[in-house]
Amino acid sequence: MTTEPSARLMQGDAACAEGAIAAGCYFFAGYPITPATEIAEVLARRLPQVGGRFIQMEDEIASIAAVIGAAVGGAKAMTATSGPGLSLMQENIGYAAMTEIPCVIVDVQRLGPSTGRPTSPSQGDVMAARWGAHGDHPIIALCPSSVRETFDLTVQAFNFAELYRTPVILLLDEVIGHMRERVTLPSPEEIELVERPSTTVPPEWYKPYENFPADVPPLMPFGTGYRYHITGLHHDERGYPTNRSDEVQPWLDRIFRKIERSLSEILLYDADGIENAETLIIAYGATARSARYAVEKARKRGREVGFLALKTLWPFPEEVVEHAAARLHRVVVPEMNMGQIALEVERVIGRHKVRRVNRADGEMIQPAQILAAIEEWA
């Protein structure tokens, strides 16, 4: 019995909750749903211990609304749900994008469509995370593949939310959310935190949606003496509704630009063996674990296999993928869905290079399936 004192067994959902606490989350609103409920349950106990506040709302729509309301009050705020809840939240996620309110939405993906099979994993909400809300707006979505990564990316999600004034979606899946794993959490000093930027201009001059100089104007919390207006209508720099098309497009360009110009910070991934690869595997979430297993097996068999494990799914790392696949003719994209990130991979590198490996029956992609795809093509 040689225990490292800080190593412990922790569930993915709990790591997400602890990551939130570590990130400075002060408010959580949610509605129970398998397999995300544990996040709420842990935070119901933990948040008040650190002076924060938890509320269970009447549904998911109210939950995301309360989260945005709390964020407007200055709190780092989060909700957690699964597919059905994500669908319900879409309208207000769009509102958060429109009003540029930072918040974190966790979706622990289960097998859909519809109620599906609530206790089974899936990666079926990847496109819904990007495109579920009507209208055009960018979004950031992160996807961990281990318990420790869940902790880290939860912190990162809060940081990105505050840095870019945007909703951030954290896509877990049932495997990662319910899995317990040995994990050593970083000490508080090791964790890099972003606090919401504040303005120095006097209240009369404050423009919550200013186009210049920065693309991310500071958001002053309600109740701090900065009185201004927030609306889901198109608005001018002061936040007041506008009907002028020449005020809409600059805003829209800015909200896309604020993400695009920070891609180097936002795009998180692990790559290895890309240089000499004959075949590239691109995977994320629980499937990245199957893929990693398969990659190691294939390499043992003498295959040159490159591996790209994506942690940032949206914005899609176009350049990263293009670069990694540039020399190659074979890219395998395994997913627990009918092919979602594969669409983007195809868009970036061309349809005919891509071999999809899919299942959406509630079971993890087995390493053997990925291996077969590698071999079959080799």
Partner: protein, 182 residues
């Protein structure tokens, strides 16, 4: 790759297969091992058949689920019917003979886990921990001390002693079987 040990613990909802998995995983960590525990169960958060899977290794664990079990503990007939056959050549299959009558192999280890639990503690609910004790004794996959520490820390409030007693009974039974097998 470092050696992977794959353990599957299966029963019906309420038999504590998942708790057993957590205890085993926790013990493995106390032994300085790497571990991943996953599970599957019935509708939403409750009821139905349930099973836990524990993968233990000295190295990284990528694929977190069982590919082929080294060890299986079956606490119900249904579980045994479903998983009993998936054991690898030379693996260990432990059956609670109070609940399992038909087994897929004659080389399974049978023990009346439920009766042992009742006799030792008066509570059948700790049959899972009896099973864990046996498993520990028969395989050494985790140390006895680690297992005890895990049970002590993780047992539901006020049930530590009860569970430790169950663990001891299981351990003794495992030892007995081992001796007999020699």
């Amino acid at each position: 790759m470092a050696r992977r040990y794959e353990v599957r613990l299966a029963g019906t909802g309420g038999q504590g297969a998942i708790l057993a998995g957590i205890l085993l995983a926790d013990a493995a960590i106390r032994d300085g091992k790497n571990v991943v525990q996953t599970q599957s169960y019935g509708p939403e958060a409750r009821g139905g058949a349930s099973r836990a899977e524990v993968v233990i290794s000295d190295g990284d664990i990528h694929y977190p689920k069982v590919l082929q079990s080294d060890i299986i503990l079956c606490m119900s007939q249904e579980a045994c019917d479903r998983y009993g056959g998936q054991i690898r050549e030379g693996g260990l299959l432990i059956l609670d003979q109070d609940h399992v009558s038909r087994a897929p192999t004659t080389r399974a280890v049978r023990a009346p886990l439920t009766s042992l639990a009742r006799q030792a503690t008066g509570r059948e609910i700790v049959a899972n921990v009896v099973g864990l004790g046996m498993l520990t004794a028969l395989t050494g996959i985790v140390s006895r001390e680690a297992m005890e520490a895990a049970v002590r820390d993780r047992a539901p409030k006020g049930t530590a002693d009860l569970n430790l007693k169950a663990l001891a009974v299981g351990f003794a039974e495992g030892e007995r079987i081992r001796r007999e097998a020699r």
